[in-house]
Symmetry: none
Subunit: 294 residues, 2 copies
DNA sequence: TCATATTCATAGGCAGCCCCTATGTATGAT
DNA sequence: ATCATACATAGGGGCTGCCTATGAATATGA
């Protein structure tokens, strides 16, 4: 018995018409008829009752066809699985990234990655961590750039780099005189934070030893918006280094480092531990780790 | 890709040795080596890391081999399942039977048939002739016991036996004095008949040379009901021999034969002329024909 | 160090099977 | 009655899987 025979069997079961089934299988009708007959002889059972005008499945075929579908599906799964092992650096890769990282990191990644993996077709998706992880688990994303350690052992991560937090202040702010912000000053600062769902929100509140957003009447869904609110004098905030270092500060704001080793976040590359193209993930991680970051 | 290739893959994975695996597959070692190489090229992935002294599975093969095992297992299941359908006398058979025959014939058939075809799984369906034939044509039944000759040449029949009609009378009925009922007496009898759709209704009316039910205010959908109406004195009726011979008559009724050779019906086993298990139909027919019927 | 054994890879010839086109047969529709 | 449709049959051609014989590389033992 041959997988091809099973595909023919399934086609006839689906079409109940030899000519149409043959067309679907890209063979001639006599070829398909002959192979079905051969399969019937091999199995010792009639699979289809055929007249010149109708083709009907026998009870035996009713039982056999589902098994044939399963066998063919397994074989197809093998091919698809092998596809992932062909050239791990080629093909489509769906990359998720959190909003507080994407706009600042991706411009630095894309060119080196293009050089390292010219055949890679990158599809970007920006969303908050929980959404990215859900999509990872639903196979709607392949890898994700996040700044937390995911729950569950179905997701593995590679550590990419540590990113310190910097304090962003209005020019006239009292702390603007300091060269570095201390832990005690953080606890008393009037910090603004992002909307719910952003990991940076939770991390900022944690670093500042504060429980909830002191300015709940504002809702900022992007880091740029938050920086503009700082510039307008509504308060200060913490920003990850990539977002504010290596570029002109938002007019009206001043950036100050925290006291050495005080706070930051760890950027990781997350992926299903069953993801077949692990080598590609390793290459991506090495590309990002090899960047000269400010 | 071929199921055979997958069997080769599994064999090498099991033995981690090409020579032994080839022996297990009953092929030569070069044949197996070549097929594995071909499979690797088709999948675009190396499946085994081989040196002259050791064979090791690659991560790709670690993932693929379980799927290959599943596919092969499905294929083997198909062969085993088909094995169960090889014997035409085994498996499921959907048998339709008309209501004026089933309750009286089936008890006599089931045991001999069970002896002749122990592995046969009989599914019974009782309905009037037209419904049985429709279901036969729709492949919802395989064979049917009927008492008419079906229209159309897509249905073949085996003649099983002739079943005479007997007159069933109320005890006090005038004809109860006769030893046999003549044609002229039939034409004048106050016969009760079954509801529309039963072949026995049409046959009774025909035998009695009557056009329509003289007692249309009654509607009997079962022969037993009809006999009870006779017992209650509403009239007489014709019943097939199996329904009234060889058992105690319904209290209050008397059974009289018709004049020799006057009327009866022919019981046949009907089936699609394309039905593949014709041998089973022949066996069933021979079992019924071999019965000692009253 | 050299010979031997083991193991997988390669080469070339042969046979079987799958696929094709052309044709046949039966049935239903116009 | 003719045409259209659908499945079956016949015969030839090409691909491919299988075999035997041989090669190449490595481990073992004298």
């Amino acid at each position: 018995m041959n997988l091809r025979d099973l595909r023919y069997l399934i086609a006839v079961a689906d079409h109940l018409h030899f000519g149409n089934a043959a067309e679907a299988c890209h063979v001639s009708q006599p070829t398909l008829s002959g192979q079905i007959r051969k399969l019937e002889e091999m199995l010792g059972t009639t699979l289809f009752e055929r007249t010149n005008k109708s083709v009907q499945m026998t009870p035996a075929a009713e039982q056999i066809v589902p098994l044939a579908r399963a066998a063919v599906a397994q074989a197809d799964a093998i091919v698809r699985l092998a596809q992932g092992w062909r050239d791990p650096l080629a093909g489509s890769l769906r990359l998720g990234v959190i909003p507080t990282l994407g706009p600042y990191l991706m411009p630095r990644i894309l060119n080196p990655l293009r050089q390292r993996c010219p055949a890679l077709d990158l599809v970007l998706w920006e969303d908050v961590t929980d959404q990215l992880l859900s999509r990872l688990r639903r196979h709607e994303l392949d890898v994700a750039l996040i700044a937390t350690v995911p729950d569950g052992d179905d997701i593995d991560t590679f550590l990419l780099f540590e990113e310190p937090f910097l304090m962003v202040l209005p020019e006239q702010h009292a702390l603007a005189q300091e060269t570095a912000i201390s832990d005690g000053q953080l606890a008393k600062a009037d910090v603004l934070v992002l909307a719910d769902g952003h990991c940076l929100r939770d991390q900022t509140l944690s670093v500042c030893h504060q429980q909830s957003d002191p300015r709940a009447d504002f809702r900022a869904t992007s880091l740029e918006m938050l920086l503009n609110m700082v510039a307008a004098g509504y308060g200060c905030t913490l920003a990850p280094a990539l977002a504010v270092a290596g570029r002109a500060p938002v007019p009206g704001t001043i950036v100050r480092p925290l006291a050495p080793g005080l706070a930051g976040r760890t950027v990781r590359l997350a992926f299903r531990n069953t993801f077949p193209r692990r080598q590609l993930v390793e290459v991506m991680a090495s590309v990002v780790s090899g960047l000269k970051l400010p």
